[in-house]
């Protein structure tokens, strides 16, 4: 199972693309995904925070991931 992860703001700058595909065997939970992304892109660990969104909702570390999910990294927001 592979996963596509959408990237916004500074996470897109760090990774260098707006969508990254993690090939199989891909992480199976939000926590594993974050750990894998930080391993590949250590600069993600320097951010004030980095959340993961699954299907437009903030997700907790133990949430399972599926190939059909819309997944995104969410660096610190700054609207308004």
């Amino acid at each position: 199972m592979s996963l596509k992860v959408a990237l916004f703001g500074i996470t897109r700058d760090i990774v260098g693309t707006s969508v990254i595909e993690l090939p199989a065997p891909a992480p199976t939970t939000v926590g594993e995904l974050l750990a894998e992304m930080r391993r590949q892109y250590p600069a993600l660990g320097d951010l004030r925070s980095c959340a993961v969104a699954v299907n437009n909702e903030y997700a907790s570390a133990d949430q399972p991931l599926h190939t059909t999910d819309e997944i995104a990294l969410i660096p610190p927001v700054a609207g308004g």
């Binding site: 703001g9 500074i10 004030r48 969104a53 969410i74 660096p75 927001v77 700054a78 609207g79």
Partner: protein, 140 residues
């Protein structure tokens, strides 16, 4: 009661946002208008670039407004319009407008919506300076 929500790359029409919340059952319309200012922490800012994850931003904005309706059941109408793309100094970045029967709740609900928007809505801001750019709030 259906909130008027939008994320747009076009200039925000403040009058249209205020008109969207007008209702004969409300005696108070309160609004917050966020604009682009010329400095940030003392550093001169030339312009701003906003990026949005639209589908999630609208989903989260819907949650914020649902919370506002729970906290202020008398809340009548809500409009939130956020700009994205490149904004020049003085441009309107966001408008929040609420309508309630009386004024006290209108101030409180309007402040709650803009404060919570800033915490959860997936919009990012990159400030442009004379010598470069920086994503706001990205680093500790």
């Amino acid at each position: 009661m259906i909130p008027h929500l939008a994320i747009t790359d076009q200039p925000i029409d403040i009058a249209a946002a205020l008109a969207a919340v007008q209702t004969d059952t409300a005696g108070a319309v309160n609004s917050f208008i966020g604009t682009v200012r010329n400095q940030s922490g003392g550093r001169p800012v030339r312009r701003l670039h906003y990026e949005s994850y639209d589908s999630m931003a609208l989903t989260q904005l819907g949650h914020v407004i649902a919370q506002a309706y729970e906290k202020w059941p008398m809340l009548q109408e809500v409009a939130v319009v956020h700009r994205k793309g490149t904004l020049e100094l003085g441009d309107v970045a966001v408008v929040v407008a609420v309508a309630t029967p009386h004024r006290a709740e209108s101030f409180a609900a309007c402040q709650f919506i803009i404060d919570t928007l800033k915490q959860v809505v997936t919009i990012w801001k990159r400030e442009e300076y004379e010598d470069g750019t920086e994503w706001v709030a990205a680093h500790p």
